[in-house]
Symmetry: C2
C-alpha cells in the first residue's frame, strides 16, 4: 500500500497475510500486532524508546544460552507466564504455577517416604499428600517430579557444590495415591538479576525475590499434567512474588511438630529424627484429559 498511515497500518498488515495462512496463526499474529500497534500509538512511542527496546532484545539474546533463558525470565517478570498458566487452569483441579528455569529431566527415583536431604542437616520437613481426581479418588501410579532449592537458596544447576540431582526426585505413588518424602524447607531466592531483565526490575523499582516453594510436576495416564508449586503461608515474599506464581490454593501451613513425634515406621528417616520437625500436607487434584 502506498497510502500506509499510522491509522491503517494494522489493516495493511492483516491484508498482507496469504489466503492459505493457518487460521489460528492468523488470529494470534493479528491480535499480537494489533496490540503492538495500539501500544505504540497509545504512548506515542519515540524513536529513542524504540531503540531502547531493540537494544534490550539484543542484550537479552546475547546473555541467553542453553542454561540461561532471559526471554523466559522476561515473560515471568511481566506476568505473561503466569497468565498463560491461569488461562488454562481448571477450577476443579489444583492450580498450576510457573515451571521456572530450574527443572531438569532425569531425576532419580524417590520411593514413597524417601529422603531428599542428602548432605544438608537443617530441620527436617515432611511433605505428604494424595494425588487424586476431582471426585477425591486416588490416582494409582501417578508420578511426581519434585525439585527445590537447597538451604543455601540455590538449585543444583546454579551450585557447583551440589550433585546434579541434589533436591530432585521422581516419586511414583501406589494404589492409595499417597506420596511422601522428607526434605528441608526451601528458602526464598532471587531470580537472576545481572542481565537486561534485572535492569528492568531495577528501573521499575521492583525486587527480584520469589517466596520459597516446592516444585511439582504431577502426571498420570488419562489426566492433564499439572505443573505447580507449594508455598509456606509465612513467607515474607508471598504477596510480592516477582514472577506472580502464588495462588491461594497453593499456600500451605508448614506445621511445627514437637520433638519425638516423627513417625517410627514408614519413612527413610524413621528412627533418625529425634528433634522437632516441620510437616506440610498437600493433596494434588488432577483433571482428566
Amino acid at each position: 500500500m502506498r497510502d500506509v498511515t499510522k491509522d491503517n497500518i494494522t489493516d495493511v498488515f492483516m491484508g498482507y497475510m496469504g489466503q492459505n495462512t493457518d487460521p489460528r496463526l492468523k488470529e494470534v499474529m493479528g491480535s499480537l500486532v494489533r496490540h503492538l500497534h495500539n501500544f505504540a500509538r497509545e504512548v506515542n512511542l519515540t524513536h529513542a524508546e524504540w531503540n531502547k527496546g531493540i537494544a534490550f532484545l539484543e542484550q537479552a539474546g546475547e546473555i541467553s544460552d542453553a542454561e540461561r533463558h532471559e526471554f523466559v525470565l522476561l515473560s515471568d517478570v511481566l506476568g505473561l507466564s503466569s497468565l498463560v498458566d491461569m488461562l488454562h487452569n481448571r477450577p476443579e483441579g489444583t492450580s498450576s504455577s510457573v515451571l521456572g528455569p530450574f527443572h531438569i529431566t532425569g531425576s532419580p527415583p524417590l520411593e514413597v517416604g524417601g529422603d531428599m536431604r542428602q548432605d544438608f542437616t537443617t530441620q527436617v520437613l515432611l511433605v505428604e499428600g494424595v494425588v487424586k481426581d476431582p471426585d477425591g479418588n486416588p490416582i494409582p501410579g501417578a508420578t511426581l517430579d519434585i525439585w527445590q532449592t537447597a538451604p543455601n537458596g540455590l538449585y543444583s544447576s546454579q551450585d557447583p557444590d551440589q550433585d546434579t540431582y541434589s533436591f530432585h526426585g521422581l516419586q511414583t505413588v501406589g494404589a492409595d495415591g499417597r506420596y511422601a518424602f522428607t526434605t528441608v524447607k526451601p528458602v526464598e531466592y532471587t531470580v537472576p538479576s545481572d542481565g537486561p531483565v534485572g535492569d528492568i526490575l531495577r528501573a521499575c523499582g521492583r525486587h527480584p525475590w520469589r517466596p520459597s516453594h516446592l516444585h511439582f510436576i504431577a502426571e498420570a495416564e488419562g489426566f492433564r499434567p499439572l505443573v505447580t508449586e507449594v508455598f509456606p503461608e509465612d513467607d515474607p515474599y508471598l504477596d510480592q512474588d516477582t514472577v506472580f506464581g502464588v495462588r491461594e490454593d497453593l499456600v500451605m501451613r508448614y506445621e511445627h511438630m514437637p520433638a519425638g513425634s516423627f513417625p517410627q515406621t514408614g519413612y527413610a528417616l524413621s528412627g533418625q529424627v529425634p528433634d522437632a520437625y516441620l510437616k506440610v500436607a498437600f493433596d494434588l487434584t488432577l483433571v482428566p484429559k
Copy 2:
C-alpha cells in the same frame, strides 16, 4: 499477591512498580504489559504457543550480531518501525521512512552534480531537487547522506565485490539548496529471510520483497533530521512493501529522457551520456526544530 488471577494480574503488575519509578517508564511499561496481557487473554494463548514465541525470540537472539539485526527486521516486517516513523512525522515536511539496516557512517563527499555509479555502466539516473523549509525557502548548507543498492540488488555491506562506500555519498548543498547526482536506478530486493523472521513471513504467506528506493538522510542546522526513501511509481512491489515504508509523497515518476538530452555542463558526467537516461526530481522539505 496471593490472589493473582487472570483478570487482576495487570493491576498486580502495576502495583509492583516502585513509587519513584520514572513516570514515562511507568506509562510505557504499563501500556506494553496491559496490551501483552490483553493479547494473551484475547487469543487464550496456549503453553505450546508461548513456547513457540520464546523459541522464536531465542533464535532471533542467536542469529543477531553486529551486522545482522534480526529484532530490527522483526519490528520492520510487523510494521512497528514504520508506525513509529509515522507517529512523529510532521505533515508540513517530507514524510520519513524506515532507515533500514544498510546505512553506514563515513560516506565520502559527493559534490553537487557528482556521480555515484563507479564501475556500473547500466543506464544513468539523474536525481536532483532542492532541500527547503516548509515555506519553500532553500536551506543552504544542508547535507544529504545518500545510499542505495547496486544494480545487482545488493548494498555494499552485503557484497564482497563492492567497495565499502560503493553507492554511498554525502552531499552538501550550496546557497540555492540544490542537490544533484547521477547514479543508476536502484532495484527491488528482499529483506534477509534465512532466519526466524523469514520463517514468520513464510508462515504468514508473505514475500520478503521491498520496492526499489533511494535512501536519504537530510540534515541541517535548526531543522529536524529527516530519514526517508524515494520510490519509483512503476515498481511492482510499491503496494506491498514488506516493511511498510511507502508513503504517497515519496513515490516519484522516473522520467525517460531522450538520447542526447543530458545536460552539457554542470554534472560530472556532462559530455559522457550520449544515450537515453532517467531523471527524477524530488524536493526534500525539512521541518524546523
